[in-house]
Amino acid sequence: MKTLSRIYMVLVFALLYAPIIVLVLFSFNERGSLNQFTTFSFYWYAELFRDATALGALKNSLYLAISSSVLATVIGTLAAFGINNLRSRYIKTVIRSVTNIPMMNPDIVTGVSMMLLFVFASTMPFLPLKFGFVTMLIAHTTFNIPYVILSVLPRFAQMDKHLTEAALDLGCTPAGSFFRIELPYVLPGVVSGLMLGFTLSLDDFVISHFVSSPDFQTLPLYVYTQTAHKVKFSMYALCALMVFAILILLLLVNFAGSFNLGKSKVKRKPKTGVKENG
């Protein structure tokens, strides 16, 4: 049974990572071919850094991912705070389900409806909305918010309500207690929401496809259009670089996560002690 489960594990990992390994391997192939590996070289990487369009798209992607995830994190955290403090349990459930809908919605529905909304809005005389960065930012922020709420809300729910009450009793303003008590407590959730939003926005294709304009092309859109004819090998190099970047980001998040967990564990101990006494 043990060897069987090991074989199973190896199989799963092989299937998961084989495509990525092939991609990374052949991005170093000097001759642009998938059939035989000739010489190890950085030729396609050099070619990639000469490709101004791809680099521009990468810059746009990063720019959009950072701004939309930060914006979504701010809005989502405040929303989670509000939802958590709702008195009526019924309304709470309703609002939670409503915020989940954009997440469950197929991307294509979100994309098309966003596009229709923007087309409609741009016909309004007092709204100078042009397709481009602004529409992309609105769309990406919109689909990021539910994920942020999803990752922040449980932290709020876990939190001991008496902590805030104690702070208020001791003369802290509500805003002060938000920044000094609640925010530090939910910070791990906020960070993971931010990371989630960042990666989701970075690799979103479907929604971007509908709300983008030629002024603002992101990387997934650019790579997709390459498939009309033979995909350039510099795209392999680009994907390999992105795999490495994501890997590093994941490692960082994991380290940060374990660090935070250790800290909060230390914090929690005296708290439970206080509770038992009370």
Partner: protein, 405 residues
């Protein structure tokens, strides 16, 4: 505190909006060009960057600051959805023939009268004027054209194979398991239509049913239905016969010199990708300037060399240097690209809706009836059973443990 946050947010949003509007403004004009991916000489691998050359040309000759905003699409249908949604406006687009017809019929194209307004239009081959999609040459200027032929591997196909030169090669049982077919209904049914001698634009249901019969018959000898994978399969020699575009044959030939190409004697498909100006273009004059620039000798040759598809531009195919360069890639390159019988070439029209539906229906039928279809159900069944068994065993083990405790 809350007020502060709110005001900070408002300021940030306003600043962002300002930033965006600043970017959009400026004294230079932006020309929006929307082309197929990998369909221009863009400066990669030491070629000429045509868009930069156009900007330079505008600056020196016209005295205008022009920025070319060049973006790409992957299919005619993508282009159509972008243009028809009206979300964004482009100045120059490159639809294929049937899409020119559809866009023009629905009023999305501007009448540009290239014969009058585009100086270099005079160099366009007469074969590519007054075609079905633009009978009076009002909307479009041909950019490239392509033809479908059969690519085969001379090491895997016998030298004196009698089927060479005919679509029959794709139905030959001798090469069972190494034949590739197009993975889209229009092209796949096209091959069957040509083979059985009916028009690919036929509106007769019997023709389509007969074509499907042929494809069904072919299915047992076909290795797979592919589009882009054809490059790797043919280059690597894992397939022996595939129908594909003449221009792409050269790309494959560079990797594998035992590949060869022919036009089937029964006839085959030809398409034209043309330059058009959408009706909501903001810069018609500049767009025409761009189209004209694309037809100048140096630029057109650079593009033709980068894309490897045939050019309808006399300045290109009558240029000796270009011909020599192409023949260096493949000894018969000029012959393959420019010397064929126009009588046997057929354009794929935009099918009427009922025919298109019939085609898609027959295609689905063909694809679903595959040998994989049965396997999928079996695999799904096995997975479901395995999962059920797993949960049952786990529940039993848990119960045992609990009772043991």
């Amino acid at each position: 505190m809350v007020k502060k946050i709110v005001s900070l947010c408002v300021i940030a949003v306003l600043a962002l909006a300002m930033l965006c509007s600043c970017n959009a403004g400026g004294d230079s004009v932006t020309l929006y060009v929307y082309n197929w991916g990998e369909y221009i000489s863009d400066g990669s691998e030491g070629s000429l960057d045509t868009n930069a050359a156009f900007e330079e040309y505008c600056k020196t000759t016209l005295g205008k600051n022009v920025t070319v905003n060049y973006s790409t699409y992957a299919s005619n249908e993508d282009l159509y959805s972008k243009i028809s949604s009206g979300a964004v406006s482009y100045d120059v687009i490159f639809p294929s023939d049937y899409m020119v017809a559809r866009l023009a019929a629905e009023g999305f194209l501007m009448k540009i009268d290239p014969a009058k307004n585009v100086e270099n239009y005079q160099y366009i081959n007469e074969d590519f004027k007054n075609l079905y999609y633009d009978a009076n040459n009002e909307y479009s200027v041909p950019y490239t054209y392509g033809t479908v032929g059969i690519i085969y591997n001379t090491e895997l196909i016998e030298e004196n194979e009698p089927d060479i030169g005919s679509w029959a090669l794709m139905w030959n049982e001798k090469y069972s398991g190494s034949i590739l077919q197009f993975n889209n209904p229009r092209d796949a049914f096209g091959t069957a239509h040509f083979y059985q001698g009916t028009s690919a634009n036929s509106e007769n249901e019997a023709d389509w049913r007969a074509a499907q019969e042929l494809l069904k018959k072919q299915k047992s000898v076909v290795q797979g239905y592919v589009m882009d994978e054809v490059f790797n399969k043919m280059e690597g020699g894992s397939a022996a016969v595939a129908p594909y575009y003449a221009g792409d044959f050269f790309t494959m030939y560079e990797e594998n010199e035992s590949l060869a190409f022919f036009y089937p004697k029964e006839g085959t498909n030809v398409f034209v990708d043309a330059m058009c100006v959408p009706s909501n273009s903001q810069n018609k004059d500049l767009a025409l300037e761009y189209i004209n620039f694309m037809l100048t000798e140096d630029i057109a040759i650079a593009n033709a060399e980068a894309i490897c598809y045939a050019s309808p531009n006399r300045l290109v195919y009558e240029n000796e240097e270009y011909a020599a360069g192409m023949n260096e890639i493949h000894p018969d390159a000029m012959d393959i690209l420019y010397n064929y019988d126009m009588e046997k070439m057929e354009y794929f029209y935009d099918l009427p809706e009922n025919v298109r539906n019939l085609q898609n229906e027959l295609w689905e039928e063909l694809k679903i009836e595959s040998s994989i279809g049965g396997a999928v159900y079996i695999i799904c069944g096995v997975i479901v059973v395995a999962l059920a068994a797993f949960f049952i065993i786990r529940a039993v083990v848990k119960k045992k443990k609990e009772s043991a405790m």
